[in-house]
């Protein structure tokens, strides 16, 4: 007889985990974010970033963008479970590598240090069309809009140059071309 294994704690077939960007259109009502987030934490899905804001004042619609990681089965469950929530209107799921989708994240970075280092840091930011929002002799605050992984990289390289504060919005997404996502 084969050695018995656990039916619950040892799923043998691990699918490959992939990054997905889930976009959820919801009624902007009290507690709606808690419903969405609670579903993720309650069912053990992970959230890498989260961006949310009202997009239609009249219809009280908000758009939530969540970056998550999971096997295809988990991503499918996330979509279906979100779809069951009452205030959810539609759910879109984009793979991070989808060429038809634009992904952007905005970061504010504060660098403090000597002029030499500051100049070097500014140069590094140039590649991403960094916009300097505030400047003193010892510091600057720059706004960078880029892909998540580009910002990750930038942050890592700026660390030794005096980066002391990072604020990021989390990714937002939009389809390219004249199409809009409908369900």
């Amino acid at each position: 007889m084969p050695k018995p294994k656990s039916a619950y704690s040892q799923p043998t077939k691990f699918g490959k985990e992939d990054h997905h960007i889930i976009v959820v259109w919801v009624d902007n009502e009290a507690g709606v974010l808690a419903r969405v987030i609670g579903l993720f934490s309650g069912r053990g899905y992970n959230i890498e970033s989260l961006a949310v804001a009202e997009i239609d004042k009249k219809k009280h619609l908000s758009r939530i963008t969540i970056v998550t990681k999971g096997t295809p089965e988990v991503i499918q469950q996330i979509k279906l479970q979100l779809g069951k929530l009452i205030p959810v209107h539609k759910v879109a799921d984009f793979s991070r590598n989808d060429p038809k989708i634009l992904f952007k994240e905005l970061a504010l970075l504060k660098v403090v240090g000597a002029t030499k280092k500051l100049d070097k840091a500014k140069k590094l930011c140039k590649k991403h069309d960094g916009l300097i929002l505030d400047k003193t002799k010892k510091s600057f605050v720059i706004q960078v809009t880029a892909l998540r992984r580009e910002i990750d990289k930038l942050v890592a390289t700026l660390k030794p140059l005096g980066l002391i504060s990072v604020s990021r919005t989390g990714a937002v997404a939009m389809t390219k071309g004249d199409e809009v996502f409908t369900q």
Partner: protein
């Protein structure tokens, strides 16, 4: 100008519009305006429980046996938190329950006021949806949506939290057109695709080792679904097995029925599930108590899955044909199409499935539900069998608590009709059976309602005896008393080296005297010889009865799929126990 109503009046108007006859509840400070209004609404009767959990399970029992939503009314703070177990139970077993809770006045929310708690926060993960009412003019709409959401799609509990000031405030009763019509648990459309129906039939025709695996979805779809299921099963001549929740959808004594499947299912049902080439899942959800070891679950079969909830499909098991639909609608479409095209299917198919049936008969010969009976002590299985034999001629409703007695009831009591079997399957709530029986008896005043119980479970909501007495509800509590938390003891025996840690109950009450203390009738049976007479006495007593059936203390519930094993490696009885359970198996429930 339309007439202005107070929030409390709006609540009752909504309940009247929904044709609610009974509400189960318990009053308290934050819900008093609603209780005050009760006297003005004669068509609605309030059943006073003795604990909010009891009220919740009673509402569930009412809903499951009648097909109508159960309504629950509780106060803020502890009233709401006590109801959480019942709401979670209803959520897991897809039972429509509308819970109305009082809340501290709006201006006190967030101040840690007396009996304040974040009710919508606490109940968010255990309801389909919930609302904190902030404006009395929203209340009519919210109440209407609450009933809609609880009863449509995959049914479930909802909660409406109403602050006390909103209950007093005046507003308009106006229900706007429901914007939720389109929603069916997130499914885009519930239209049945004819292509799917044809594929369904094609798969039926191709298979030579088929099996129907049906669940609570058939019951939830209404009595018509059970009729249609019977039609389809007899049209195809295929074997059928059922989950715990699905019992009664198909007659338990029909030769095509293989009995319940799963952890304590029959040998023939589990082996047929394992070896089949076509599995037709109708309204079940591949729960872990059903599948056993998931990687070795029915390895050779094509699988069809019909579920009203799209998120149930593909969650645990990949399927070949998935149909998101209500069971009744789908079965209607399938049967119609099937009859058009396959007039003589049974005849032509008999040969194809003959081998399969003879294999099933071989499995049946194992008689996996058999047990060694005794003349000295009452075996619990024997007690359930006698209870069945003595009650089967009348329309009997059975509820259970949770544990060994629940499994013995599922194995040995044969159900022939839907909505006759109320048990806590998903959450496994000890203390469910008595309050549920009360709810059932409210819905069916003239019928025989029996709670098959264990002596440990029954003590978890024993206070509801008082409710049964107050409303003259002649529920029968049939306790299989072995002085142990039997299922815990069984797992400890099999998995924890017989270390019976805290599973023996010292100082149990004298259940006969306890019954008398409540004003009910107590009966005790100690030997097999007196069992039948005592059961008859119980049935003929037109009052609540606590029946203390003193049974074998160490009997285990078999057959059993040990944790971590697939369907075809069942333990049939004590002689199989010797095999060691792996360490991994021990970590399981």
């Amino acid at each position: 100008m339309p007439k202005l109503l107070s929030g409390a009046e709006i609540v009752f108007k909504a309940l009247e519009d929904q044709k609610v006859e009974y509400i189960f509840g318990y009053p308290g400070g934050a819900v008093l305006p609603i209780y005050d209004e009760l006297k003005n609404h004669k068509s609605i009767k309030h059943i006073l429980a003795r604990h909010e959990q009891g009220a919740g399970h009673a509402a569930e029992g009412y809903a499951r046996s009648s097909g109508k939503p159960g309504v629950l009314l509780v106060t803020s703070g502890p009233g709401a938190t006590n109801a959480v177990t019942a709401l979670t139970d209803a959520y897991m077993d897809s039972i429509p329950v509308v819970c109305i809770s009082g809340q501290v006045p709006t201006h006190l929310i967030g101040t840690d006021a007396f009996q304040e708690c974040d009710t919508t926060g606490i109940t968010r993960p255990c309801t389909k949806h919930n609302w904190l009412v902030k404006d009395v003019n929203d209340l009519a709409d919210i109440m209407s949506q609450a009933f809609k959401i609880a009863t449509t799609g995959r049914p479930g509990p909802v909660l409406v939290d109403i602050p006390k000031d909103i209950q007093f405030n005046k507003g308009i009763y106006k229900v706007s057109k429901n914007k939720l019509e389109k929603k069916l648990n997130g499914a885009l459309s519930n239209k049945i695709n004819l292509k799917d129906v044809d594929k369904f039939i094609e798969m039926i025709k191709k298979s030579s080792k088929p099996i129907f695996y049906t669940g609570g979805g058939v019951i939830n779809s209404g009595p018509k679904a059970s009729e249609l299921l019977r039609d389809l099963v007899s049209l195809t001549g295929f074997p059928i097995t059922s989950t715990l929740q699905g019992l009664g959808a198909f007659p338990g004594d029909d030769p095509q029925f293989l009995g319940m499947l799963g952890m304590h299912g029959t040998y023939e049902a589990n082996n047929a599930m394992h070896d089949c080439d076509l599995m037709i899942n109708i309204g079940a959800r591949f729960d872990d108590r059903i599948t056993g070891k998931i990687d070795e679950f029915s390895p050779k079969s094509k699988k069809i899955h019909i579920d009203i909830d799209p998120s149930s499909i593909g969650k645990n098991v990949k399927v070949d044909l998935a149909i998101t639909s209500d069971v009744t609608e789908l079965l209607q479409a399938v049967i119609k199409r099937f009859k058009e095209k396959n007039k003589n299917f049974i005849e032509s198919n008999k040969q194809k499935t003959a081998k399969w049936w003879s294999q099933i008969d071989k499995w049946r010969e194992k008689k996996s539900l058999n047990f060694i009976n005794s003349k000295e002590t009452i075996k619990p299985q024997h007690a359930v069998q006698r209870l069945y034999e003595l009650t089967k001629h009348q329309d009997t409703f059975i509820t259970t608590e949770v544990g060994q007695h629940q499994m013995w009831a599922a194995q040995h009591y044969k159900f022939n009709k839907p909505n006759r079997w109320m048990t806590s399957g998903g959450l496994g709530t000890m203390g469910y059976g008595l309050p549920a029986a009360i709810g059932v008896q409210i819905a069916h005043p003239k019928k025989l309602v029996i709670d098959i119980a264990g002596e440990a479970s029954i003590l978890m909501n024993i206070q509801e005896m008082s409710t049964a007495i107050q409303y003259r509800l002649p529920v029968k509590i049939f306790i299989l008393n072995n002085e142990y938390m039997g299922m815990v003891r069984q797992w400890q025996e099999l998995l924890h080296d017989k270390n019976y840690s805290e599973s023996y109950t010292e100082a149990l009450p004298d259940f006969v005297k306890l019954a008398e203390a409540y004003g009910a009738v107590g009966i005790r049976a100690k030997t097999p010889g007196e069992l039948d007479e005592k059961i008859k006495e119980m049935i003929n007593t037109d009052k609540p009865v606590i029946f203390d059936c003193v049974v074998d203390k160490v009997e285990n519930c078999y057959p059993m799929i040990p944790s971590g094993k697939p369907h075809n490696q069942m333990l049939l009885g004590p002689e199989d126990e010797k095999e060691e359970v792996s360490d991994e198996g021990k970590t399981l429930v």
